[in-house]
C-alpha cells in the first residue's frame, strides 16, 4: 500500500450479516488452487458476482461482515477476484484480522450501506478513511485504520510484515 493512495473502483453492495460461508462455502475449502476456488465466491447470495466483478472493485456491506467460520479463504477469494478494499458498518473480528493479513484493507464506515448505490463508483482515501461516492459526491467519514493494521498493510500483508520483524 502506498501512503497517499486513493483507491477508485465500483461498489458491489451487500446487506447485513454476510458470513464467511456466504463468501465461500465450506465445500470448496479443500480446493488448493485459489483461482479455481474464487469462481465460487458469493455463489449463494450473488450467483453472478464473478461475472460482475472487475479488478479494483470495492465491497460495501452492512453490519457484521465476515462472521462465522475463521476461514482466511474468505478474504483470499475476494483478493483473487480483484477486490481492492472492503467497507462495512462493522466487521466480525476474525475476518477483519484476516483481511489485513492477506493485504486487503477493511474500513468501518458507519451509515455506508444506504449511502452507496449498487455499481456506483467510489473513491477511498485509505489513510484518512474518507469515502466519496462519485454519483452523489457525498463525503463519508470512516474510522481510521488502527496503527497495527496499517503496519501490516504497508508491509504488503502479514507474511512480509513477519519477515520484516524476524529477519
Amino acid at each position: 500500500m502506498r501512503e497517499s493512495q486513493v483507491l477508485e473502483g465500483k461498489a458491489i453492495v451487500f446487506g447485513d450479516d454476510i458470513n464467511t460461508d456466504q463468501i465461500i462455502q465450506g465445500r470448496y475449502l479443500q480446493l488448493l488452487d485459489y483461482a479455481e476456488m474464487a469462481q465460487h465466491t458469493f455463489e449463494v447470495v450473488m450467483p453472478d458476482f464473478v461475472q460482475v466483478v472487475e479488478e479494483g472493485d470495492i465491497i460495501v456491506a452492512g453490519r457484521n461482515f465476515g462472521g462465522g467460520s475463521s476461514r482466511e479463504e474468505a478474504p483470499m477469494v475476494l483478493k483473487t477476484n480483484g477486490i481492492s478494499c472492503v467497507l462495512a458498518e462493522s466487521f466480525a473480528r476474525i475476518f477483519y484480522r484476516n483481511a489485513f493479513n492477506v493485504g486487503i484493507p477493511a474500513i468501518v464506515v458507519k451509515g455506508i450501506s444506504n449511502q452507496v448505490k449498487e455499481l456506483e463508483r467510489l473513491q477511498v482515501n485509505l489513510l484518512e478513511g474518507i469515502v466519496t461516492p462519485l454519483g452523489s459526491g457525498k463525503r463519508l467519514v470512516g474510522e481510521r485504520i488502527p496503527q497495527k493494521m496499517l503496519e501490516i498493510l504497508r508491509a504488503g500483508g502479514a507474511v512480509e510484515w513477519y519477515k520484516s520483524l524476524y529477519r
Partner: protein, 421 residues
C-alpha cells in the same frame, strides 16, 4: 487493577504491566490446534515466511477431521501434507482421520486446562473456555505466525457477564440455553468480546454441556467464552490430564463488564429452542415455530456429538422407530465417544431405532460428506450453524436444536418438543 477472567489470563501471558480493553498486546501462546487448514494453507505460508522449525512441537495438536476419512483426492492430499508435517516437525500430538473432531479430541487428551491461553485455526476454538482457559479462533496466517514464534498479537476484549441460576428442566439442554442467549445478544452482540458465564447452573453443568455453550459463543461474534473452574472440570482433569499442572482463574470482585445478562431458570424456565434458517441467533421456543416437516435429522459436530448427547438420544428413541420419511444420521464427536457409546449399549438402541451411525468427522455440519442436503430439503440438526447452503444445496434449510429435540423430531417427522414423545 481488577480483571475479568479473560483480562487476567491475557495479563499473565504478556510482558505489559497492565492490560485494559482495547489494548493490542503481544502474548505467548500455551497451545495451538490446527486441522486441515495446515495442509491446505499454513504449510505454504510457512514456506513463504522462510520457516524452519515449530517453536515447540510439544505444544501443537494437528487433527485431520473436517473430511475424515477423505471423500475426494483434494482432501486426501491435504491429509498427506499434514502427516508429512507431523513427521518432519516431530509434532507430539497428532490425531489422524480415525480419532475424531478437533475440539473434542483436544479436550479428551487433557490439553485444555484452567489458566491456559489457547489458539485454534478454527472459529469454534472458543470451546476450551469450558475448561477455564482463554481460547480463541484465528486463521491460517496467524496460526503460521504462532507455529513459528509461539507468540501472537491480540486485542484485549471487553467482557459481557452472564449469570445463570437454577437447573435445566427435563429434556432441556445447555444447547437450548446458549441458543436463547445468542439470540438475545444478536449476531454481533458479543463481537470482539469475552462472554464470561457464572451462576449455579454453570457450576453444576457437565463438562460436555459446558463445552456446547462456550462453543457457540462465537455465533454472537465473541472472541472467547469462559467459565469458572467447577468440580466436573476437576474430575475431568484428574481423569484426562493426570499429573499436569494448572491454575484456575476467577475474576476480581470489581472487574468491569461492558454489559451483563442474567437468567433464573427457577422462575423462568427455558423451553427447548430452535434456530430458524438461516442464522443461529434466530431462535424461538419450539412451541412457537409451527409444523416444520423434516427430511433429515442430524446429531453430531463439536457442538453436540458427545456421549451425553448420544445417550439422551437413545433415551428418547428406545423401543421406537424413526419416521419412515426421515433419515437420522448420528456422528459421534470422537472415536472415544463412539467406543463408550458402543460399550454401554447406546449405539445398539440408536441403530435399532433406524439411525445411521457414521465415523467421527465434521462431515455433515460443513456440507462436506456423510449427510449433505439436496435441493429444498429440510434438516433439524444439533450443530452450530444454519447459514444458507451450509449443509448442502443453497435451497436446503437447516433448523438448529438440541440433540433431544432432534431425536424427538426424527420420530414424528416434524420438529417436536422432546417432552412430548
Amino acid at each position: 487493577m481488577p480483571y475479568t477472567i479473560a483480562e487476567k489470563i491475557i495479563a499473565a501471558h504478556t510482558h505489559e504491566k497492565n492490560v485494559s480493553p482495547g489494548d493490542i498486546v503481544d502474548v505467548s501462546v500455551d497451545f495451538i490446534m490446527v486441522h486441515e487448514v495446515l495442509g491446505s494453507r499454513i504449510v505454504s505460508i510457512l514456506e513463504e515466511m522462510g520457516f524452519k522449525k515449530v517453536w515447540d512441537p510439544e505444544k501443537v495438536l494437528v487433527v485431520n477431521d473436517h473430511w475424515a476419512p477423505a471423500p475426494d483426492t483434494e482432501s486426501a492430499q491435504i491429509h498427506v501434507r499434514n502427516r508429512q508435517f507431523v513427521r518432519a516437525q516431530d509434532i507430539k500430538h497428532f490425531c489422524d482421520v480415525d480419532g475424531g473432531i478437533c475440539h473434542q479430541v483436544l479436550a479428551e487428551k487433557g490439553l485444555a486446562r484452567p489458566g491456559m491461553l489457547i489458539v485454534g485455526s478454527d472459529s469454534h476454538s472458543t470451546t476450551y473456555g469450558a475448561f477455564n482457559a482463554f481460547s480463541t479462533g484465528l486463521a491460517a496466517t496467524d496460526s503460521a505466525m504462532i507455529l513459528a514464534t509461539g507468540e501472537i498479537w491480540l486485542k484485549v476484549p471487553e467482557a459481557i457477564r452472564i449469570d445463570i441460576e437454577g437447573q435445566l428442566p427435563t429434556r432441556v439442554m445447555s444447547k437450548d440455553i446458549i441458543l436463547k442467549i445468542i439470540t438475545d445478544l444478536g449476531s454481533d452482540g458479543a463481537n470482539y468480546k469475552s462472554m464470561e458465564f457464572f451462576g449455579s447452573l454453570i457450576d453444576n453443568l457437565s463438562v460436555g454441556s459446558r463445552m456446547t455453550m462456550c462453543n457457540m459463543t462465537v455465533e454472537a461474534g465473541a472472541k472467547c467464552g469462559i467459565m469458572p473452574m467447577s468440580s466436573a472440570v476437576k474430575d475431568w482433569l484428574e481423569k484426562n490430564a493426570a499429573g499436569r499442572e494448572y491454575s484456575p482463574v476467577s475474576p476480581d470482585k470489581d472487574a468491569e463488564y461492558s454489559g451483563s445478562l442474567s437468567y433464573d431458570l427457577t422462575d423462568d424456565p427455558v423451553e427447548p429452542m430452535v434456530a430458524l434458517p438461516h442464522s443461529p441467533v434466530n431462535s424461538k421456543p419450539v412451541s412457537e415455530i409451527g409444523d416444520v416437516e423434516i427430511d433429515q435429522a442430524f446429531i453430531g459436530s463439536c457442538t453436540n456429538g458427545r456421549l451425553e448427547d448420544l445417550e439422551i438420544t437413545a433415551q428418547i428413541l428406545k423401543g421406537k422407530r424413526i419416521h419412515k420419511d426421515v433419515r437420522l444420521i448420528i456422528t459421534p464427536a470422537s472415536r472415544r465417544t463412539y467406543i463408550e457409546a458402543m460399550r454401554n449399549g447406546t449405539i445398539e438402541i440408536l441403530m435399532d431405532a433406524g439411525a445411521i451411525v457414521t465415523n467421527s468427522t465434521c462431515g455433515a455440519c460443513i456440507g462436506g460428506h456423510l449427510g449433505v442436503l439436496g435441493p429444498s430439503e429440510v434438516c433439524v440438526s444439533s450443530t452450530n450453524r444454519n447459514f444458507q447452503g451450509r449443509m448442502g444445496h443453497p435451497t436446503s434449510r437447516v433448523f438448529l436444536a438440541s440433540p433431544a429435540t432432534v431425536a424427538a423430531s426424527a420420530i414424528t417427522g416434524i420438529i417436536t418438543d422432546p417432552r412430548e414423545v
